[in-house]
Amino acid sequence: MSEEQTLELLIGPQHPGSGHMRLVAEMDGDVILNFEPNIGYVHRAVEKIAETKTYVQIIPLVERTSLPDTANHNLGYVLALERLLGIDAPLRAQYLRILLAEINRIHSHLYGMGIHGNMIGSTTMLMWAFGDREPFIELAQRLTGARLSYSYIIPGGVRRDLPQDFRNDALKALSYMERRLKDYDRIFVHNPVTLARLKGVGVINRIDAARIGVVGPNLRASGIAYDVRKIEPYCIYPDLDFEVVVRDEGDAHARLLVRIGEIEQSISMIRQILGKIPDGSILADRYLDLVPSRTRFEKRSSVKFPALFSGLKPSKGEAVSRVEASRGELFHYLVSDGSTHPYRFRIVTPSFKNLIAFKHALLGQKLADIPAVYGSLDYFPPEADR
């Protein structure tokens, strides 16, 4: 088609519907002929900087790739590091890790839903979702001491024990969330305008989803029950009873419904964890023995780092880990040359995997579908750009 007939729209990086990237859409009238997300606006060289930092210093660094979803990124990195170091966390620490990961999954999904609502014009959904994130952020803050950047999971365990009253508070927040999900249904999820905007929009069918390598809730909305928590269970997921939420439609609305389903699953998982969390140590004995006895965690609610942590030296080798982050499968690859810094560090983030879905789902759609699909994919640019 000749150039005069098409219109090239540059959406972003300063645009209410773009986030931290530029979307280049070639339009014929109201129909998208070609769609190119232009990424790299938030490329901060996380993997390269990691080579200049010690192993423990990388923990806050990997979190910064995905601020709404820090716990899962933290967990993924630490699992890889633990494989390199050859240690295991005690059972209670494992439970606490998954507890934080599931709390984080809930508020990360709410973040995505809120942005999705705002993208198609429902500011109420944005505000409600962001307001209802707060109880879970508050829970995580009581547990870890920070709102979003938890840095909670360390090699060999976790940094803090459950605070007092945490169980009651968490149960209250969970039942509140269950109540609120019904409100969301009424005002947003089953709102006729939302249905008109999202049903049948941005369809990725089962075969395409598998072919282009979409991950996470977006893949499960296309009818493929792929979840690392089931396929390659880590930590205590084998002990937990949960289902993989799958829908067959593959459209923007199905992706929204999958997220809501996963919030429900996470709620039930947190209930199970709170019910059967065992007593015990929260840091591996190997490190606990290195801490001066008067600062041991038995006498306080948080662990002390052994001085060793300022210069951990894993043996030569390489390790990988896979975890199911809120946005999909997260892969960490770590190579050690026996020094205090990793030789090579690589993250494959779910957002980067989902990026290709943009191009696929938006061809032939209308201009107004760009934000609808963008929101439904729950794409977080810093995570993709690293």
Binding site: G40, Y41, I115, F130, I137, R147
Partner: protein
Amino acid sequence: MFDAVIRRLSRALARQKILSSLKDWGTSFSLWPVHFTTACCGSEFAASFCPRYDAERYGFLPFVGTRQCNVLFIEGTVTKKMAEAAKIVYEQMPEPKFVFAMGACAIDGGIFWNSYNIVRPHEILPVDVYIPGCPPRPEAILKSLTMEQEKIRKKVTPHPEN
């Protein structure tokens, strides 16, 4: 001739105390940040508008276009690619305009201080208020707002460093 008269008249009017204090009052309660998310601090920036903190109480309304807004909120790291966009956005905004640098990354790089791809915003933009933290709490954002409002109303020198 006519233009010059008008210009002189309007300048003389704007220098009047009542008018300038009205202007300062209006501007300080109507700081509209432009929708320009530079990095991950955007998630806490959004949280400061959420019902728990509700920055709109100060008339701080996130608005859409550059031409209507007067606040540029640098939300976290500015990469080299984003820095160009940040400068363009700043130039597109009408005077008077204010720049907030949010988060450690927007002050001195934070944890990314030795990255090859970052720019320190105060090198390219006249920053009014710095908010430390990684990410800063929404409270800190609200506090920076009140500080900026005071600064506008009390006529503190805008950029003491430059």
